[in-house]
């Protein structure tokens, strides 16, 4: 059970990242701080409402509860990060953009349907790019290579070759 002191110490720069559609459908949620399921649902619902109500001419930052929200819309998807007060919002925009680029490179001109049907892959990419809300590797190539290799490992699992196959006898 988390007590108050634990909450204080668990200050993270990025608290969570959400992806959702213009119709308010959640496509991805990554939480970097321990939060109760009920609270997560409430926060997601509230935040989606707030962000979807924003007009196009407004800036990409808004204050919500005790957090700063950095969001950007790419086609039909909103990418939304909640960061601590003292962060550099402009670089957070670049973090979001880098994630989109990674998705784009991986899926080849990514669109919302890719994220819907391959949500687990979107998570794998995110988890290779960020850990605890921080960038693991600033090289695009490096991140994509790691995903590629991991995908290969997965493929080897899925089509194990029998000994006979290996020998070319089956």
């Amino acid at each position: 059970m988390m007590d108050d002191t634990e909450v204080l110490l668990e200050k993270k720069e990025m608290r969570f990242m959400l992806l959702f559609s213009r119709q308010g459908k959640l496509r991805l949620q990554k939480w970097y701080t321990a939060t109760a399921e009920r609270d997560k649902k409430k926060m997601v619902r509230e935040l989606m409402q707030v962000v979807l109500a924003r007009k196009p001419k407004m800036c990409s930052f808004l204050e919500w509860r005790d957090l700063k929200i950095v969001y950007k819309r790419y086609a039909s998807l909103y990418f939304c990060c909640a960061v601590e007060e003292q962060d550099n919002e402009l670089i957070t925009l670049e973090v979001i953009h880098r994630f989109v680029e990674l998705l784009d490179k991986y899926f080849g001109s990514v669109c919302e349907l890719d994220i819907i049907f391959n949500f687990e892959k979107a998570y794998f990419i995110l988890d290779e790019f960020l850990m605890g809300g921080e960038i693991q590797d600033t090289s695009k190539k490096s991140v994509l290579k790691a995903i590629e290799q991991a995908d290969l490992l997965q493929e080897e699992d899925e089509s194990p070759r029998s000994v006979l196959e290996e020998m070319g006898l089956a």
Partner: protein, 674 residues
């Protein structure tokens, strides 16, 4: 048992549902199938089933029955199973559930796995959601990986260590040896970013660590310099800028190391100037670096030239087309306005322009910054802008803006008249948004502005005639009328251009009684109004009318009003024989000679049974040749209704010589004292 349907097929099926009910039905059916599959301990399809469960969880359906299955997947030997298992654990489990501790052993094994991608999975999971207990158990493994030569693992271990330190700060010490060569050139550049993040975390948490790592400043400066000078690196570049993420993190670490330390600050001075002047500003990424640079310059002990450079960057940001850039500029300027006030003042007009921005966040910051920049020199101009802003801004802002205006006016008002006018303007334009505590504060202000009483009460009365819906305005006005009603009906005013207000006693009482019955008035307002009416019984002659009103409210449903009315009635009965008469006398002094009468002072004395109050004169210069007059109000209390007599004394300076004149006035009309 047929094979469970594939993930993508389930997704496709669910998306065909036309209603929420249909979707729920599909989900329930699939969940039932998944549950029985779990019960059968099916290893082959566990992965597929958990993946489907995760999809349904994202749609908002409960998936807690899959938690243990995630743990089984993590324990599996297959990479696919582990991948989904760890993902499931991160989505479905958290440290609030004891079951998460069951992961610890698996993670420990996987941290030592022969395949780096498995190690990566476990590091990631631990680094995202590891509880304090797990972190305590596994810190040693993480520390080992921090020292490995495998840069893929080392960078992940660094971020995992960051999480461990956040959860269990006492463990920070154990990571210190491993940090020894993190920034060394021998390492691959790959681990630089996460190394800087780890070092930053340690420095932020411990002053000892901070002192220890200060020696890294030259190294960091060198790395940053190389980044800026280096050629094109397509992997790390963004819009032609070398590894902006790393640049920003280094700048941030420099900020922490340089803060409060002269030597470190000096060592980074040049590189900061270099980044500030050479960074390309056409795209967001360049501005992100500039922004971080500005934050660093402002926090460390930078030389004044560098600080001015930083503020000027922010000034340029304010003019940028990109509103995101304007937003961060305003935020930063707000932080520095106290310490670098003069530098920020130079950008005042741009900041004031931002009050007209369409974006709510920008407007709010511009408003806060504007208030911070108000001073004795710019008060008139600034107040014009802020009052205009108050008129047109969102209701959310009005309360704060009104409060800010009152504060600024109190500090820097160039004249009492200006102050009262400003207060009036706020009350009439944003009267319903003004905070409740403003009412007593304003009453205090008005009370203290003795020479403005007539002017104030007349303006407030006029405002009431127009609009009685804004409660704070109505309350202040009621109080003033109650207090200065005599000045109101006398029509006399200290100001040169008197306000055209013809207020007869009955009309004034009509207005106050109107407040008592209006639906727009709150109970508090009614109380103010009743008290004001009561007070006028000592200032007006229509005492009978007032008595009647007060007695009616003796049976009011509003308990507060009822109580007041009853007490006032009692006062009337008790002091009826004492009901005092107040005569209000206005003197007009004119001067037909050729020279002005300066230092003009009028004094008066009355017999002992009277009480005299002399209000401030309109001026102390009586202009020559009847070009103007000095007016002054005298109030005489005559409780014993005796004949009014007065001794007066005039003193003034005329053509350089002092003059004194004494006289007795005995011919007051009988009405003034009967």
């Amino acid at each position: 048992m047929p094979a469970p349907i594939r993930l993508r097929e389930l997704i496709r099926t669910i998306r065909t549902a036309r209603t929420q009910a249909e979707e729920r039905e599909m989900i329930q059916k699939e969940c039932a199938a998944i549950r029985s599959s779990f019960r059968e301990e099916d290893n082959t399809y566990r992965c597929r089933n958990v993946a489907k469960l995760l999809y349904m969880h994202m749609l908002g359906y409960p998936a807690h029955f899959g938690q243990l299955e995630c743990l089984k997947l993590i324990a599996s030997q297959k990479f696919t199973d582990k991948r989904i298992g760890y993902l499931g654990a991160m989505l479905l489990l958290d440290e609030r559930q004891d079951v998460h501790l069951l992961m610890t052993n698996c993670i420990k094994n996987d941290l030592n796995h022969s395949t780096q991608y498995v190690q990566g999975l476990s590091l990631c999971t631990l680094g995202c959601m590891g509880s304090s207990e797990m972190c305590r158990d596994l810190a040693g493994e993480v520390e080992k990986l921090l020292k490995t030569s495998n840069s893929y693992l080392r960078k992940k271990a660094a971020l995992c260590a960051v999480h461990v330190i956040r959860k269990v700060p006492e463990l920070m010490e154990m990571f210190l040896p491993a940090t020894k060569n993190l920034l060394s050139e021998k390492n691959h550049g790959e681990i630089l970013h996460t190394s800087v993040v780890l070092l930053t975390e340690m420095c932020e948490r411990s002053p000892d660590m901070l002192s220890h790592f200060r020696k890294l400043v030259p190294q960091l400066v060198r790395i940053l310099k190389n980044l800026i000078m280096s050629g094109y690196s397509p992997e790390h570049d963004v819009s032609g800028i070398s590894d902006p993420f790393l640049q920003v993190r280094i700048l941030r670490l420099l900020r922490i190391l340089g803060k409060g330390d002269d030597d470190s600050s000096e060592a980074m001075n040049d590189i900061l100037a270099q980044v500030a002047t050479n960074t390309e500003t056409s795209k967001n990424v360049g501005n992100a670096i500039l922004y971080e640079t500005v934050l660093t310059i402002m926090d460390i002990k930078s030389e004044s030239g560098l600080r001015v450079l930083a503020i000027n960057i922010l000034g340029r940001f304010l003019l940028n087309n990109d509103k995101n850039i304007r937003y961060v500029a305003l935020t930063s300027l707000l932080k520095t306005v106290q310490t670098d006030h003069n530098a920020v003042q130079r950008h005042r007009s741009t900041i004031v322009d931002c009050l007209k921005d369409l974006d709510v966040s920008i407007k709010r910051r511009a408003m806060e910054l504007s208030f911070a920049l108000v001073n004795g020199n710019n008060i008139r101009g600034m107040m014009k802008e802020l009052l205009y802003f108050l008129d047109s801004c969102d209701p959310d802002f009005k309360a704060d803006c009104a409060s800010g205006i009152f504060l600024a006016a109190e500090k820097y008002a160039p004249s009492k008249r200006w102050h009262i006018d400003t207060v009036m303007r706020v009350l009439t334009t944003a009267g319903s948004y003004v905070r409740d505590d403003s009412v007593p504060n304003l009453i205090q202000l008005i009370t203290n502005s003795v020479e403005m009483h007539a002017y104030t009460v007349q303006r407030l009365y006029k405002a009431l005639l127009d609009d009685i819906s804004q409660q704070p305005l109505v309350q202040v006005a009621s109080w003033c009328i109650g207090e200065y009603g005599d000045l109101l009906v006398s029509g006399q005013c200290e100001e040169e251009e008197p306000i055209q207000v013809d207020a007869l006693e009955d009309e004034v009482l009509d207005v106050l009684e109107g407040l008592l019955v209006s639906n727009l008035s709150t109970p508090v307002t009614r109380a103010y109004s009743l008290t004001a009416i009561m007070k006028l019984s000592t200032r007006f002659s229509s005492v009978n009318r007032i008595k009647k009103v007060v007695s009616i409210y003796g049976s009011s449903i509003d308990v507060e009003l009822q109580q007041r009315a009853v007490e006032y009635n009692a006062l009337f009965k008790k002091y009826d024989h004492m009901s005092p008469n107040i005569a209000v006398i206005t003197i007009h002094a004119t001067n037909s000679t050729e020279a002005d009468m300066t230092e003009f002072v009028f004094q008066a004395a009355v017999p002992k049974t009277f009480q005299l109050q002399l209000l401030s004169p309109s001026s102390n210069v009586v202009p020559a040749l009847n070009q103007g007059s000095v007016t002054q109000v005298i109030r005489v209390l005559n409780p014993q209704k005796q004949q009014l007599r007065m001794r007066i004394k005039l003193t003034y300076t005329h053509k350089g010589s002092p003059v004194q004149d004494l006289a007795e006035v005995n011919n007051f009309p009988p009405q003034s004292w009967q």
